[in-house]
Point group: C2
Chain length 330, copies 2
């Protein structure tokens, strides 16, 4: 698919636009000459960081507001061709200690965005960022899109609702929506201040700082990682494709790696750091899902997507990025 | 199971306690000498009706508050052995026109109840009222508990979240929760003022009033009906059983009947009324799910439950009830 031809001159709104994935989409879109508007509330401890758009700040419009603010959303969605709906909380642990905030952002906020679209721009295309945590513990591997969804945390439950609203509005209200279920996205521009939104970037930070990387138990549970550039490519393909409407797509690498081996790779990429084996903390053990890796053949067949950046290469690029602009993330 | 022995002297809280199902549970519990507290907010157009507890008003404690009021819930759940959590909106149509209220009551309200329990009475047993609308359109019949859940309305999505919170809190926070997925419950004490919460009682009203019962299209889609007394029995069994913890159970009759035949039966029971065939209204056609009937063998095997009241007998009892106290419902 010729993404350049599709996105040139398109108007594109990105919620969570200063976050890891949102800002990375924005950077690609600006290159392709799209008119890009970012919405972000910069809630502390979430992923938003103004530095994520360093170098493109004059080529995007940034609007500071919260997706739960239906009035600003009602205005912002107008005259937009495509919405990359990347706003949302990601922390499994936080959702268990503060389930209400998770519900407000991942259920109520999503419903407000969709109502804003239905009432003000029903022809818009919306791409939702789903997550592997919707599946819960894998009953079979690799996990395809028809796998039962039995989340092990409130965040997973709320993301199912958020995705379901999108598919429902797509089916009954004419909005053209699709969902991409992400799994352990890593790379430059991920927040680096805490470990609650994905462990691989956190491993990279610990390694760069020459600290111990704690591995719970054996660390032999295997996971699937997708480098940010591959994720952005997938989201752009889904955004541009007419046949994606109403569809859900898994992403994955096809190369599951154990948590321990991942830490070793982060250490190798940084040239520093070391592993320390510790007992599983109770709060994490409860919601630990064991092995997980995705069957991504659906998006491969439909949109000719596959991940292209290996874990070693992705980690090398990640280390290089933070070596250069560490002060904006640490 | 000896329900009398189990419930005697138990403390039981019922949300939606003045509603159709809540008040019917209360009536059985009072007979069995349980200490019953009802919570209801009496939101207009919902199912609550003070007349539903006529004759037992001195044997229950009624607390007027909303399940979204976490402070009153935090107090009310204390020292309760069992919570029948029957509060919730049921209208498929309303959830599409006002999705936020549906979300507030069926997601946020449920989460508040569960947090109230976790923080104030984590040992409580909670029985959630699930619904067939969680499944959406049947992919196979009869629908068992493992059937995929792809709701055709916001109400179904929010009920999935509400049920999922219960199962999650049961698994990780020690609360003992179970869900019973209801399907077209009918009988005495259902609200009779509008048709948006189940069509069979509405048919009964139209027949009693000697009016036309509108049947959309052929009316040949088949449905499953459960008489209120059978539903109450199932809920009480689930509440009393230790093995129900973390489980989900379908209810059903095993006797699917077409919508048209149901109207004919309502007319026969009332001795009045007539059918008028009309085109499917657009808002209803969108969310119409076609044939639905449930596989209830799980609760049959586990708790020896089955429905005992036939549709003809249930309709006769329903007509007799409203003939006697019509002025409190019309």
């Amino acid at each position: 698919m010729d993404l350049q031809a599709f996105y040139s001159k398109k108007t594109v709104l990105i919620t969570g636009g200063l976050g890891f994935i949102g800002s990375s989409i924005a950077r690609r879109l600006v290159e392709m000459d799209a008119a890009v508007r970012l919405v972000d509330s910069l809630i502390p401890t979430y992923g938003g960081n103004p530095y994520n758009i360093a170098g493109i700040e004059d080529r995007v419009h940034v609007n500071f507001s919260d997706v739960r603010d239906i009035h600003s959303m009602a205005y912002l969605v107008q005259n937009q061709d495509i919405l990359f709906n990347m706003a949302g909380t990601l922390s499994h642990i936080d959702s268990m200690t503060d389930p209400f905030t998770d519900l407000e952002i991942n259920c109520l906020g999503q419903l407000k965005i969709l109502e804003a679209c239905r009432l003000n721009n029903p022809g818009i295309k919306v791409i939702f960022a789903g997550t592997r945590s919707q599946y819960g513990r894998a009953r079979y591997l690799p996990v395809d899109e028809n796998h039962p969804m039995q989340p092990t945390d409130v965040n997973g439950i709320n993301n199912i609702a958020g995705e379901s609203y999108h598919l429902l509005y797509s089916k009954y209200h004419g909005i053209r929506a699709a969902s991409v279920r992400l799994t352990n996205t890593y790379g430059p521009r991920h927040q680096m201040r805490h470990s609650r939104q994905g462990f691989l970037n956190w491993f990279v930070r610990l390694a760069i700082d020459d600290e111990e990387i704690p591995i719970y138990g054996q660390g032999d549970q295997r996971r699937d990682f997708t480098y940010i550039d591959d994720v952005v490519e997938a989201l752009l393909l889904v955004g541009a494709s007419a046949k994606s409407v109403g569809q859900v797509y898994n992403l994955g690498s096809g190369q599951p790696v154990s948590v321990r081996r991942t830490a070793e790779k982060a250490i190798a990429a940084a040239g520093r750091g070391r592993i320390r084996t510790v007992d599983f903390p109770a709060d994490k053990k409860n919601i630990e899902v064991g092995d997980y890796y995705a069957d991504f053949s659906k998006i491969q067949k439909a949109l000719d997507w596959r991940s292209t950046v290996t874990l070693d290469e992705g980690l090398a690029r990640t280390v290089a990025y933070y070596a250069e602009c560490r002060e904006h993330y640490w």
